[in-house]
Amino acid sequence: MKGKNEQIYYESGLPVPETPEPGHQPKPWGKTHVVGKPLPRIDAYQRVSGAAVYPSDVTFPDMLYGAILRCPHPHARVESVDTSDAERMPGVFAVITGKTPEANVKWPYQNGVKTKLFDPICRFEGEAVAAVAADTPYRAWDAVRAIRVSYRVLPFVSDEKKALEAGAPAIHGKDNRVGKPEVYQRGDLKKGFSEADVVLEESYRTECELHTPMELHGCVAKWDGDLLTIWESSQGVYAVQSTIAEVLGMPLAKVRVIGHYMGGGFGSKLEAGKYTAIASLLASRTGRPVKLFLTREETYLTVGNRPPGYMKLKAGVKKDGTLTAFEFESVVTGGAYPARGTGLVDWVVRELYTCPNVRTQRIDTFTNTGVARPFRAPGHPQGAWALEQMMDALAEKIGMDPVELRLKNIPSFSQAQPGNPPYTTTGLKQCLQKGAEAFGWKTKPKVKSSSGETGHIRTGVGMAAGVWFVGGGSPPSTIIVKLFSDGSVNLNMGASDLGTGTKTVMAMVVCEELGVKLDKIQIENADTGTTQFATPSGGSKTVPTESPAVRAAAVDVKQQLLKMAAADLKTDASKLAIVDGDVIVSGNPAKKIKITKISAFKNRGVLIGVGYRGPNPPNRAINPFAAQFCEVKVNTKTGEVEVVRFVAAHDSGRVMNLLTYENQVFGGITMGIGFALTEARVLDAGQTGKMCNRNWHDYKLPTALDVPADMTAVPIDMPDDEANSTGAKGLGEPVTIPTAAAIANAIYNATGVRFTATPITPISICRLAAEQGRKG
């Protein structure tokens, strides 16, 4: 206790940044005192103790449970639906189908494509056919099973290349292309390849990854008169609000979506699902709240994926490491409808390294498979799988170290963004150098070491780099910081915290700016009824979007406080500063007033500061960069791969919280390990078109033992003051971009064999051994 000036709500001795004059932007922070520290989550207790109420925890006394009948075929026409038995079952309150008048609404996909909510043509396995509300989940599922549907099974196609072949079943009446091929070109490809000393060409394949957030997809829908309230596990409550309002023909004001806590999204919860509309319709029909959460099997079939794709990359390089040309082609499929998350496969090829001559082409196709949704860094890990293995191969061919080759080709401006804007900051060089140093890249063994009973376990190292196509954040965002009469703060923010620590980081910004203690800050977020507009949390843009707006709102509070205090202290506001919860006169610290004693503030009761996210600087590219290094052990007799260690260096601008930073890095590596080594959707493509591995046993997520205990995050802490007022860039997606390619390169280093298809498993390694055996 520090005597009479002790402030229980304010940190003492914490220098609060200077308050800009009204109408002026705050100066860059420079050195921070709270932001950047490794601080635990402000809601950690709630999350760990189970006190946090996630949408799946929401319950009401008269609540019913919804369940959806789904098409078991990849392509079928619904000829009739007989619900008579289901409707008579005890505890069943509603059964809805395409024939139910209010359920005859349109569901929007991308590119303006709409179908009926319960469309008679089911173009993928798991499409919704009917739905039930009952008093228990068991009775709801019993009723679903009692619905009799007559399907006319139609021919299907599962594979994107086969979808383009003549005679393939036409999923939308024409050929199976989703629009025209996307083509990007710069320079002169022919010239580029003619200048190269080495030209390599390789085909790559990445398999479809399924979304697996811990919390299942779903919601609770409840009506009060004509107001619909939805508790949804969502990355963006405003996005859910607008889709549901559109589908049900309601004013936005009458749809309130709440998602304070949510258990992970990774891109699959950026949008509303049919389940949201169905729960709302069931709740309306029964006059009771309806909870509708999908089973894991349903989410695997219907809530999106990282699209599978075929890629071909041809690359030219001079002996001195100068890249001369890239030619890249890809064929992907976002499933049965135009989907988000199918693009950007070529982005790293366009952008990551200086290369004057580039041509890329992407063909998106319809297949009778689940519709894609954005999946952590859409397109990028796939493109990096090709590009970064190719860079490794080029380096070997010209006898250059892979890190050196990359260092030689670092761009200072964006080659792919319109107008070729310079980057605000580019930490690619630092990522490569500091990462290599932390890993011990230069001292890596020249000869592969072997161990095991017969020397059949080989060790190898590999690395890869990455860039994320956005990551600077952007308007709009509106933040309100409410200062209560005792000096405590309420932070009001529309954005969701996906579990990444958004709330914690924002509270730290308020603490940094006002000096108010972290535990005296209450955060209200992700509620369209009470919090301000925010775009969904995705694209690694939440921190760079929201944190400057939070800072602006805190600055607004300070400006008002100083103006009010100026009256009490009979001086000019420009002469005042905030120190330890007091407003003091600069140069005369004895002349001061406690924030809570300021007369005008006391009269008003609560002070409201509003902050807006301003525009990004014009003609500048704001991008995060990455480099990752790993060591693997490969059992050459059994094909088992063990990832031994990982070092990840990431430039995401200012490191806002070292703990959440490390969490993101380790999480991204974990997902990248899944992409590289274990995960792949398997379809029964030759027979039924159904998904074979729709559960956690058959769809193999990496387990704790598949992830190395030895993981190191090397923060490249480069505040990007030109980008925004907190200096932050995005981190959540870049962290998973280079991982898989780094592993593939390490496996090549260990075995001398290049695996161009994901996942690299004992199956694929032994399969290659079998093929080589047959070839003799």
Binding site: P72, T454, R694, D706, C766
Partner: protein
């Protein structure tokens, strides 16, 4: 969602057998497999008969002849942690510790492990396959990367998923079974049923029968055993390929051998070709190479599981070399 069923907790083995003799009754021990099967609708259960009260079926004891008796309700974890098991039958200890995940090992029982249902994704899915009484095996011409290379009889190409079963077969263990007609003892080597004999059964158990204990014969001090499986990820996964070895050494020569493969066939698969080649030999590099190659001589790989050929060869090379050094 689980279907509706009634639940009985038997207070004696006799009572359990009586309940299980009724049509539609299903045994519940650890429940790790049963509940999944019920949820996935692989079979129905009118009555679930719990044997959790039958404490006599728990525990690991020495038998009069110096062997071991493991009660069928003993958990997989208890076997994995048992000193007497790891002393005498390290292979069984290794197998138990490679089963599933810690949670499943704590809950799953020895009886359940050796009586579990197959993991074929067609069988576990919505399709009415031959093993479920339907008219075709979807895996034979489908996605069969996890399926068998021996013993499908061109009917059903599951692999038997148990890790403990191949070791028990290799160790010449027996299963004691109680049923409506009294007790019987069946060697583990004759406990499993090939699709050619009955495609809807995995074991010889008849309705109403319960495995009550597993009996291991006395281990000679020259007996070495091991089990290792290769899987698609490092835990919580069934075998792509596994090998159980039980080798009786005389000096550095093999006096007798049992080599049993998992992930290879609808039953634990004895690799008799390997046993014959190594018997009477030193486990030197040449013998190991010859024996390992012979393990897959009669394999009939399917479209997507040809990788199991080099995998079994590689695994046997590794494991034979390892057991020679222990």
């Amino acid at each position: 969602m689980l279907p509706q069923f009634s639940y009985v907790r038997a207070s004696s083995l006799r009572e359990a057998v009586k309940h299980l003799s009724n049509q539609g009754a299903r045994l519940h021990a650890g429940g790790t497999d049963l509940l999944g099967c019920l949820r996935e609708g692989i079979f129905q259960a009118d009555t679930v008969v719990s044997i959790s009260r039958l404490d006599k079926l728990r525990g690991i004891n020495e038998t009069l002849d110096g062997g071991l008796r493991i009660g069928s309700l003993t958990t997989v974890s208890e076997v994995a942690k048992s000193d007497v098991v790891s002393d005498r039958f390290p292979g069984l200890s290794q197998a138990a510790s490679q089963v599933a995940s810690p949670q499943l090992r704590n809950q799953g029982t020895v009886g359940g492990n050796i009586c579990q249902k197959p993991r074929c994704w067609y069988y576990r899915g919505e399709l009415h396959c031959l093993r479920k009484g339907g008219d075709m095996c979807y895996a034979l011409a489908g996605e069969n990367q996890y399926h068998c290379i021996f013993g499908s009889d061109n009917k059903c190409c599951i692999v038997y998923p148990s890790d403990m079963a191949p070791v028990l077969v290799a160790l010449d263990a027996e299963a004691r079974i109680s049923g409506p007609g009294g007790d019987r003892v069946v060697p583990m080597g004759k406990f499993y049923v090939l699709p050619g004999d009955n495609v809807e059964k995995e074991t010889v158990l008849e309705p109403g029968e319960i495995v009550t204990e597993v009996l291991l014969p006395r281990a000679s001090k020259n007996l070495r055993s091991s089990y290792r499986k290769v899987r698609a990820r490092r835990t919580w996964d069934f075998a792509l390929a596994g090998v159980a070895l039980a080798i009786l050494f005389e000096g550095d020569k093999v006096k007798g051998a049992r080599v049993v493969l998992s992930g290879a066939a609808p039953i634990p698969w004895r690799a008799k070709e390997v046993e014959e080649i190594i018997t009477g030999q030193r486990l030197d590099a040449k013998t190991i190479a010859k024996a390992s190659g012979a393990s897959v001589k009669n394999a009939e790989p399917l479209e997507h599981n040809g990788y199991k050929i080099p995998l079994f060869i590689g695994l046997l090379e590794e494991q034979l070399a390892a057991i020679a050094k222990t």
